[in-house]
């Protein structure tokens, strides 16, 4: 990724149509999270399924929305901002494209998932996934290809420990041995798609943390001044904003690479996922700190987003593992390139 052909210059920018799409989706998500979390079969999830958003990545001929990964990234950021629960990333980014790749034999299942009649989920290499007990099918990503496992064939389930109690994660310890239908390889695979979806969700979580903390730092007065006027506070939050904006750029660029079918799509998603985790980790630290003692109370909503972010950041690969995989790509590129010097100062 740092040698060989120069990376393609790809310009990107959200369109007016995309902004409208986001506004519409935001209303759906806001309505869905309006009440108490009512679980995988509840009204909230139903409302999301009814909106059609789960079928974003499949064509209109299959009752999907025919959207691209960049569209879905924008929508998923809103879901993270509003803390939408349930297997949203697992369904829209992983199960639905996998079912579409299977084609005709899975057409009925796909229709049922899009209609919200069958719940889909997915696991990562921790064999955890949201709402596994209620799922009719589960995507199991694998090195040698992805599998679709029937909900009845998951084997025993156990509650899974997670930072976020609202993530509804369960673990299927025997899943690796469960029989499943192979998914034909048509793109980057479910794990990479889930990673990008998770990174987009994490952008929304991080944005909420920053907005909430800026509001707090503006309202909260100590020593006769708003704490947001103190340089130590302002500079920490400025750093969070910088990391978040660059993470968003990376997520959008990686989505564009997937759309274009670029050979570098997988490493692009690794990079976006690492940068999104980096931005969240900085927000996790600074935003809690700026809230002072208030941030440690159960009544304040801050901890819900902090915990949600921690769980999303550990999903589809811990940051350190993704970074190491990206490091391998850097070393592989360096092996095939002539040795070079750092750039000369430009002054």
């Amino acid at each position: 990724m740092t040698a060989g052909d120069p990376p393609e210059l790809r310009l990107f920018r959200p369109t007016d149509a995309q902004r409208e799409l986001v506004t519409g989706a935001r209303a759906v998500f806001a309505a869905a999270v309006g009440g108490a979390d009512d679980g995988p079969r509840g009204r909230s999830w139903r409302a999301i399924a009814d909106s059609g958003l789960l079928g974003a990545l499949v064509g209109e001929d299959a009752d999907g929305l025919g959207l691209g990964a960049d569209d879905l990234a924008l929508l998923t950021e809103e879901a993270g901002h509003l803390l939408v629960r349930g297997p949203l990333v697992e369904t829209a980014w992983m199960a639905v494209p996998a079912l579409a790749a299977v084609g005709a034999p899975a057409a009925d299942t796909l229709a049922a998932v899009l209609a919200g009649e069958v719940l889909a989920s997915a696991v990562d290499d921790t064999l955890r996934g949201p709402d596994l007990g209620a799922a009719g099918l589960v995507v199991v990503p694998g090195e040698d290809g992805d599998r679709l496992v029937d909900g009845a064939a998951l084997g025993p389930l156990e509650p899974a420990a997670a930072a976020d109690p609202g993530a509804r994660l369960e673990r299927a310890p025997d899943l690796a041995r469960a029989p499943g239908a192979p998914v034909p390889r048509t793109g980057v695979g479910a794990l990479t798609l889930g990673r990008l979806g998770g990174a987009a969700y994490l952008l929304g979580v991080t944005r909420w943390l920053l907005e909430t903390t800026v509001a707090h730092a503006t309202a909260r007065t100590q020593f006769g001044a708003p704490i947001g006027s103190f340089q130590a506070v302002r500079h920490g939050l400025a750093d969070v904003h910088v990391e978040l904006e660059f993470a968003r750029s990376a997520v959008w660029a990686a989505a564009g690479e997937l759309e274009a079918g670029a050979a570098t799509g997988r490493t692009a998603v690794l990079a976006a996922a690492v940068q999104a985790r980096r931005a969240f980790a900085l927000a996790d630290r600074h935003c809690l700190q700026v809230h002072g003692g208030l941030g440690f109370t159960w009544e304040h909503p801050l901890h819900r987003h902090l915990k949600a972010g921690q769980t999303v950041a550990a999903r589809f690969g811990r940051g350190r593992d993704l970074a190491a995989a990206l490091g391998d790509a850097v070393l592989a590129a360096a092996r095939s390139a002539p040795r070079s010097a750092p750039p000369r100062p430009h002054i």
Partner: protein, 382 residues
């Protein structure tokens, strides 16, 4: 359904890129030019600028009437990226191209534009920026160099510092005080000072890496004709702010440089670390690669925004903060992995380390940039 985010690059720009690649392959001086920090080297770089101009590859987005190629900012970006990738010689016209020239186009009189712009573009006259002073670094409104009106000109007294290429410059775009001392950003004026005038003394500043790309410039009773004033008297702050906004446009060469820094480091890891130690560096290289990717992506996003006519705003502060920290972390990782032998004077890594560290200071310190983000983007109370 939404058309997606991708902004297609027009075929004409792709053709421009292909021609440029070919031209660079044919014309870049093999082995580079002599050191720009020497008299002969500097002259060679001046000659190179004329070669670029003859080929239509400088002032790419400058209007043709001023000697430019009449392109747009996407042409500029394509050129910056390709030129950097090909490791073309350092551009001694960088300040002129990016902000001095465009500011003259905005505020200069037709006579001034005719007199200076083409010669500036062809490096027949080398221009430097004269804003910083010993007592006015981050706090630019603290400028003390005085210009007193006398007849049809000004008499200038004072001192400028950190003047890029000051040693070899012919002209300075100077910010001076024409109003009362302590008037802060009111009472400032911009003057073009001929550095060959009597009363000008230029002292090269030797920097920590041993080079003298900067100078201190002293003015003792230097006479500047009034027709060398840029903009109105007292309008200096507005001119300076416009200049800085040009300085902060997207620079497509930046991510390429960070990529080169990372590639060089990865090659060093493979060549010079004991094989058993390589695995221990994967994660750090990967984290850096993620940030380089984010830097490249963000540059493309900003480019698309500006190409669509969106004003730059405070965006450049974000870029400065992100990229300077990334570069600093890369050179620091190199020093950590390979020890201080790498930092001996004269190595490319030594130069890169100190230059990258300076990146947290020049063009506005990291602290000032964070304050800009806190004020103008986050809207935090002051």
């Amino acid at each position: 359904m939404t058309g997606g985010m991708a902004v297609p690059i027009p075929p004409a720009h792709l053709a421009f890129r292909d021609e440029l690649r070919e031209w660079l392959a044919r014309h870049l001086p093999p082995g580079g030019l002599p050191d720009v920090d020497t008299v002969d080297g500097f002259r060679a770089h001046q000659a190179w600028e004329r070669t670029l101009h003859a080929a239509g590859y400088t002032g790419i987005s400058w209007p043709r009437e001023h000697g430019g190629a009449g392109g747009d900012l996407l042409h500029e970006a394509v050129f910056a990226e390709e030129y950097e990738r090909a490791r073309g010689p350092v551009r001694i016209t960088r300040p002129s191209l990016r902000f001095l020239g465009p500011t003259l186009m905005r505020f200069g009189t037709p006579d001034q534009q005719q007199r200076w712009l083409l010669r500036m573009l062809r490096a027949e006259d080398v221009w430097s920026q004269g804003f910083s002073e010993p007592e006015a670094g981050s706090d630019l409104a603290g400028v003390r160099t005085r210009a007193v009106r006398q007849g049809d000109g000004y008499l200038v007294e004072g001192q400028k510092t950190w003047t890029t290429y000051g040693r070899f410059s012919d002209w300075m775009f100077a910010l001076v005080r024409t109003g009362a001392p302590g008037d802060r950003h009111r009472g400032l004026t911009c003057l073009a000072v001929d550095l060959h005038s009597p009363g000008v003394e230029v002292r090269p500043v030797r920097q920590v890496h041993g080079r003298t790309g900067f100078a201190e410039v002293f003015f003792s009773g230097v006479r500047v004709p009034a027709d060398q004033r840029i903009g109105a008297e007292g309008e200096g702050w507005a001119v300076a702010m416009t200049l800085l906004s040009f300085e902060r446009g997207p620079d497509a060469a930046g991510p390429v440089r960070s990529e080169q820094r990372l590639s060089a480091l990865a090659a060093d890891v493979l060549a010079d670390l004991p094989p058993d130690d390589v695995a221990g560096v994967r994660r750090e290289l990967g984290e850096a690669a993620a940030r380089v990717y984010a830097y490249r992506s963000h540059t493309a996003r900003r480019l698309a925004d500006q190409w669509s006519g969106e004003p730059a705003g405070a965006e450049s502060s974000l870029v400065k903060l992100f990229s300077s920290q990334l570069d600093l972390d890369l050179v620091t990782l190199g020093a950590d992995l390979f020890g201080d032998a790498r930092l001996a004077e004269g190595t490319p890594e030594h130069l890169d380390l100190w230059h990258s560290r300076a990146g947290r200071v020049y063009g506005g310190t990291a602290e000032v940039q964070r304050t800009v983000v806190a004020d103008r983007v986050l809207g935090l109370p002051r």
